[in-house]
Symmetry: C2
Amino acid sequence: MLQNLPDHSAIEDAHKRIQPFAHRTPVLTSSYFNHKTGASIFFKCENFQKIGAFKFRGAFNAISQLPEEDGKKGIVTHSSGNHAQAVALASKLNGYKATIVMPDNAPKVKVQAVREYGAEVVFCENTTDARERSARKVIEETGAVFIHPYNHPDVIAGQGTSAKELLEEYPDLDVIMAPIGGGGLISGTAIWSKYINPEIRVIGAEPKWADDAYRSFKSEVIEPVLRTDTVADGLRTSLGELTFQAIRLHVDDILTVSEESIIQTMRDLWERMKIIIEPSCAVPLAAILENDLNLEGKNIGIILTGGNVDLDNLPFA
Amino acid sequence: MLQNLPDHSAIEDAHKRIQPFAHRTPVLTSSYFNHKTGASIFFKCENFQKIGAFKFRGAFNAISQLPEEDGKKGIVTHSSGNHAQAVALASKLNGYKATIVMPDNAPKVKVQAVREYGAEVVFCENTTDARERSARKVIEETGAVFIHPYNHPDVIAGQGTSAKELLEEYPDLDVIMAPIGGGGLISGTAIWSKYINPEIRVIGAEPKWADDAYRSFKSEVIEPVLRTDTVADGLRTSLGELTFQAIRLHVDDILTVSEESIIQTMRDLWERMKIIIEPSCAVPLAAILENDLNLEGKNIGIILTGGNVDLDNLPFA
């Protein structure tokens, strides 16, 4: 099925749909990081979003638009991360049954969170192939609707609502940044930001160990992720056709950063801003600090993606 | 010197003074804790305040009111905690030199933070006597002004501005809660809350291991803290004459909680709300959960005091 990128009006509609159910997350600033970069940085705190990550926006937008006769057959996805919880909660809020395919080595706390939202968990081997096969089986047996974590126009439109809120509060941003995993967040962010202000620079950031979007951006074909061991566990995925298209059309640059930078910046964000963020959140700020960009005097928006970490297993402990 | 409690207009004036320099901290909610308590809880996040704690409000209010000829002689206090950083930053912002007496076993990170704000650190033995003697020595030598951490009307008025902001946003609170250390925060909170609405219940909370305010409240004389090993390191101090007076006049009840409750609730707040809070912050919510209060359907404000923790030494790690 050929799909089109959502436009700004799809993001406006998404915002109307999710507003009664999602948090309008706060924007925090830090004189420490402003001083350190010479810029004014506005952190959009999606770690305070429902389920602890921006993923709720996209999942809710997609699921709430399903025709009721489709939704009643159930919702299915495969994920061991934030998308799993997002689909579980968004399904519950819409009165639909969700089935989440998770690898059998998924952290117990994530499995438990998904079950708390009323979803059924189906375990499989931890390979892309096994996950897809398990999800297909659920679809064949029940007719359930599959919700892709990023390569889906309604998901991209939902993720764009975070940048919409940020730009409503801070319309004078010169730069807006987000990390890139599968590309759903940067796609929605870029579509909205360029619609509001074509002059705004949209910059993605990635770990050097998962720099597939950076390489794809340069080579102009989708390049796969080559290793999956970056500490930024939310960014280990490759782009989809749709998100790659959005990046080519609307993203100005992609920066990459070292693991050491990510971990140090994550710790600094915890200590200075008193917020719990996932390693992925630290990637854009780490990119500013590591790449010595000339951002003196600029207004920079950074979307902090989520705060779901295992407190017993912190990378800087 | 006989001192009087500040009244509501002193808190209004304090608010005008600090607003250009302090963060108006966000108020966060959590469907998890609402569900768990049956109440609607509004968390006022002073962990996001300047220097990472509410203490900035009181210190700034006191220091900014000093006659310039006094302030020019310098500011002095003794503290190894948040008050040290608060006095250091508030002095700097007013163009005054601060000297902070700290115990020679104070954590390096706290010493460094105080120095980053431009204050001079004087070390002494870790006894109340040695601290007071060292501070007196600075005063005798320089004429510096001593800023008490809580038993000071301008400090109490400053601390009351947090409740003022919370009640401006949520005027329908049935209950407002804060932890009690020296009593500055609960005093300012109670004075403002009862002025705005005499029906509001003001409830203090303490660790059982530092239940001096609870015992003082019952016996009607100031009782000393008997042990100083509670994990809630911000609450190891005894009341002063002024704060005791405010508590007797305006506080409805004081609850106490176990160490286990504090640590578990602290961890739950980190995991569920994605915020970094000190152990002291967890005490009021732990008191609600441990004491099985009948708060079904009530609107409850809780002031989260600060977020300065040592990430390498967490109580639940």
